[in-house]
């Protein structure tokens, strides 16, 4: 098998296995399902562009998270003018595959709403740690910060989130 075929196969597998996780990450960060879907699509396209010009990717999972993170930052910069209320109203549209009941939908909405009250930096680490299930090491590598700093920030963010979301 040619190297290009192997790369293509690995990329397709990454899409199948990581698209949902990236979607969840985007959704809880931007609070808008459509925007989250666009971000996922954009993330994979940008990654493919990077590969197609001859670059090698050592850890595709870490790379995809870094790309989606940058795209979210860009999204926030662009939509700075829009208020939090507009964001909440426009993006409150959780859906899932057949099994997601009204209860599940309401639970997701609750978490999403709770997280949306947190500062972006705190929301970022909570989503990465508890939505994406990334380890402290993986988060620190993606955000390019020390594990210690991530751990402290996560602890504070969780305390705030508990006060808002605690069922």
């Amino acid at each position: 098998m040619k190297k290009s075929d192997i790369q293509e196969k690995q990329f397709t597998e990454a899409f199948e296995s990581l698209s949902d996780a990236l979607f969840r990450h985007s959704f809880f960060r931007v609070s808008n399902r459509e925007v989250a879907l666009d971000l996922v699509q954009e993330t994979f396209m940008k990654t493919w562009n990077h590969i197609s010009i001859g670059n090698e990717i050592e850890n595709i999972k870490a790379f995809l998270y870094r790309v989606v993170n940058n795209l979210i930052i860009d999204y926030y910069r662009k939509s700075k003018s829009s208020s939090l209320d507009n964001l909440l109203d426009g993006g409150f549209d959780p859906q899932g595959d057949g099994a997601d009941s009204i209860v599940a939908s309401s639970e997701i909405s609750l978490i999403k709403k709770g997280l949306s009250f947190l500062p972006e930096k705190d929301r970022e680490v909570i989503v990465m740690r508890y939505v994406d299930g990334l380890s402290l090491q993986e988060i620190s590598r993606t955000l390019e910060e020390s594990e210690n700093a991530i751990s402290v920030r996560l602890h504070r963010a969780l305390k705030k989130a508990k006060e808002i979301i605690q069922p």
Binding site: G96, I111, Q166
Partner: protein, 358 residues
């Protein structure tokens, strides 16, 4: 992970992309992948690093060897050869660039005239060379010999003007010439004298013998003279401009000899005699130059000796004027007396010995 953390995690996992959404994204992604294909790796891509700086270096290296080789081969090229124009237009042109001083320029033009003459002699044997090519070679020889004379004259003029300014300058400047140079020049002066006497003796012998002149003899004489002229240029006090002019003249004589061999000249005996006469003239002129150089060397040595004697007398005067050193005292004094006056000590010992005997 505590209950709250577990709760967030579990709830979040319920959120997924719907299958219809996934199909749409997958289709768009595949279209994007098709429009941005992966680069096909060349089987030679492992050697890709050679295609950059290494290739540039290799190209220069190849060019260097090719041009260097062509240059070396071109040196032996004759008119009509493929590389002859390379020899004349590239090799000789480039070597000419390095002749910066007037002397070097003059010398190089003499060498070029010599080269054209050698080519003329070489093409003589070659029947494939056209008459036009030979004629053009003759012309270029004539141009070169003219150029050589002009350059030599220009060098001589420059030297003369330089010497005039030198003579006007302080004589102290001459004293500053290194003693070593003058010392070696002393040796040179002797060598020049020997050289002159040997040459004049051989000339006297040949004229005394009055044998019928042979072309081999003239040729041998020219060859020896060529060497002498080249050696003469290395001597410090010899007029190099005049030597160069003699060299140019010798090249012209060689051309005459070539014409003689080609039966271009009318009366063969007379022609050879006149060539021989010119060769002897050049030899005599070279001898004169050597005598002049010898005289210059001698004068400079004498000048230096006078200067040294003057310096020595000045030093002795200054010693006399200086305060005498205090008389030595004690043990040191007695030792110094012993060292400085061995004769007195010896006589004292002899006196002591004679008194004991008595």
């Amino acid at each position: 992970m505590n209950d709250f953390e577990k709760y967030i995690h579990e709830v979040a996992q319920k959120l997924t992309i719907t299958s219809s959404e996934k199909v749409v994204i997958r289709a768009r992604l595949h279209a994007h992948m098709a429009s941005h294909p992966l680069p096909e790796k060349s089987p030679y891509s492992n050697f890709l690093f050679f295609t950059h700086f290494h290739m540039i270096g290799a190209t220069f290296l190849v060019l260097f060897f090719v041009t260097g080789g062509a240059s070396a081969f071109a040196e032996k090229a004759l008119p009509g050869d493929l590389l002859y124009s390379f020899k004349v237009d590239v090799n000789e042109e480039v070597r000419g660039w390095f002749s910066v001083s007037q002397f070097a320029k003059a010398e190089w033009s003499v060498r070029l005239a010599e080269r054209r003459l050698l080519e003329l002699e070489s093409v003589e044997q070659d029947e494939t060379i056209s008459l036009a090519a030979r004629q053009s070679l003759e012309n270029s020889f004539a141009i070169q010999i003219k150029q050589a004379n002009e350059n030599t004259r220009a060098y001589e003029d420059k030297e003369q003007s330089y010497q005039k300014t030198e003579e006007q300058s302080d004589s102290l400047a001459r004293e500053n010439t290194s003693k070593q140079e003058v010392a070696t020049s002393g040796g040179l002066s002797e060598a020049l004298k020997d050289d002159i006497s040997v040459a004049s003796l051989s000339r006297a012998a040949s004229s005394a013998e009055e044998k019928p002149l042979k072309i081999e003899e003239v040729r041998k004489r020219i060859a020896n003279l060529k060497v002498s002229l080249r050696e003469a240029k290395l001597v410090a006090f010899l007029d190099k401009g005049k030597v160069l002019r003699l060299e140019a003249k010798l090249v012209a004589v060689q051309r005459e000899l070539y014409g003689f061999e080609k039966n271009e000249l009318g009366n063969k005996d007379e022609a050879l005699k006149s060539i021989h006469k010119i060769v002897i003239e050049i030899e005599e002129k070279l001898d004169t130059l050597k005598v002049e150089a010898s005289a210059k060397i001698k004068a400079s040595i004498e000048e230096l000796l006078v200067a040294e004697a003057g310096e020595a007398s000045k030093e002795s005067d200054s010693i006399k004027v200086a305060k005498p050193s205090p008389a030595p005292t004690g043990v040191r004094a007695s030792k110094e007396i012993e060292v400085n006056m061995p004769e007195k000590i010896e006589s004292k010992r002899l006196d002591q010995a004679s008194s004991i005997e008595r």
